[in-house]
Amino acid sequence: MLKTLTLCALVALAPPAFAHQPVTAGGLELTHGFTRATLPGAEVAGGFVTIRNTGATADRLTGGTAPFARAVELHEMSMQGDVMKMRRIEGGLEIAPGTVLELKPGAEHIMFMGLTQPLEEGKVVDVTLTFEHAGPVVVPLHVLEPGAKTGKH
């Protein structure tokens, strides 16, 4: 089992073999969506996606829903020295025109609370992100290995 997981981890170092078809909504372009396979019994998981605002007006990511989680929140993880700090983001995240909001491990990210099912590596799960102007946007997240750090090539 250990070997299998490690093998998965090594394989994951190679470029993930999935297409990054952008999801567009108004001026927003969402790419590189991924989450991580959960360890047994885990009740939370992080979600990661890159959101580019190609439009002329600012928008704001306010939250979302997922069929596999009781709640979807926005969190910020940061390291202060050797201490990991996790904070819930209140009021959403603004995406100014021409800017990119990168939700990624070790920074701002989506948090799935109260998982109702495990997330299995290799699958794709759809989540709905809610924007102030663009409204609800369904984005697929690829389920990568538990320690995945990026969904990019």
């Binding site: 250990l2 047994p40 939370v44 969190h75 202060q80 990991m84 700090k85």
Partner: protein, 196 residues
């Protein structure tokens, strides 16, 4: 020298936290009072329980080299990442890793029962979960000079916590740390030194 740098990092983190008015738990830190404080790391009269049902005390760190990591199962990022790193260290060490005992101590015993921890770690080999009462956990946090703080009042609270892996020699003395996401090229020599 590496250790010294980490101590400075710790001191900086403590200052930052204090400046922002955060409550620091526990008070003693490896950088606080010099060699005596350092020698006391991991020592103390805490009594926790392993996922195997055996007691975990300061004596558990003697007789073999140990790696100790503090975390919790509701941890979305640091803990799975570090557990993944640990399995890579184990693979890289090969047969030598058998001499190393690895402990995952919960900073969130209210949610991490021994059964929850055992399930969470069931995929791993050679990583033993440790949990206990809040009082004994707090004693252990103080003994290991680990910062841990609950954030949020509802059921979905998270825990801020020190994220490095602590290495102890076979006499139970603290040696050094492996930092969060420290590259395996740096982590492996530390482990090999520990096992030699």
């Amino acid at each position: 020298m590496q250790i010294r740098t980490e101590w400075i990092g710790l001191a900086a983190a403590a200052l930052l936290a204090a400046a922002a008015g955060w409550f620091l738990l526990p008070a003693p830190r490896p950088d606080a009072t010099g060699p005596d404080a350092r020698a006391a790391i991991g020592k103390g009269d805490y009594v926790l329980t392993t996922t195997a049902g055996t007691p975990f005390t300061a004596a558990s760190l003697t007789g073999h080299p140990s790696a100790v990591f503090f975390g919790y199962t509701h941890c979305p990022d640091v803990c799975p990442t570090t557990l993944g790193d640990i399995t890579q260290w184990q693979e890289a060490l090969g047969p030598r890793q058998g001499a190393l005992r690895i402990w995952f101590v919960s900073v969130d015993p209210e949610r991490d029962t021994p059964a929850t921890l055992a399930d969470y770690l069931s995929w791993s080999e050679g990583i033993t979960g440790v949990s206990g009462t809040r009082a004994e956990t707090d004693k252990a946090l103080t003994s290991f000079a680990i910062y841990a703080r609950r954030v949020g009042d509802d059921a979905d609270y998270t825990m801020d916590h020190t994220a490095y892996v602590m290495l102890f020699d076979r006499t139970g003395d603290f040696v050094e740390t492996i930092g969060y996401q420290e590259p395996i090229e740096q982590a492996l020599p530390k482990l090999i030194r520990l096992l030699d």
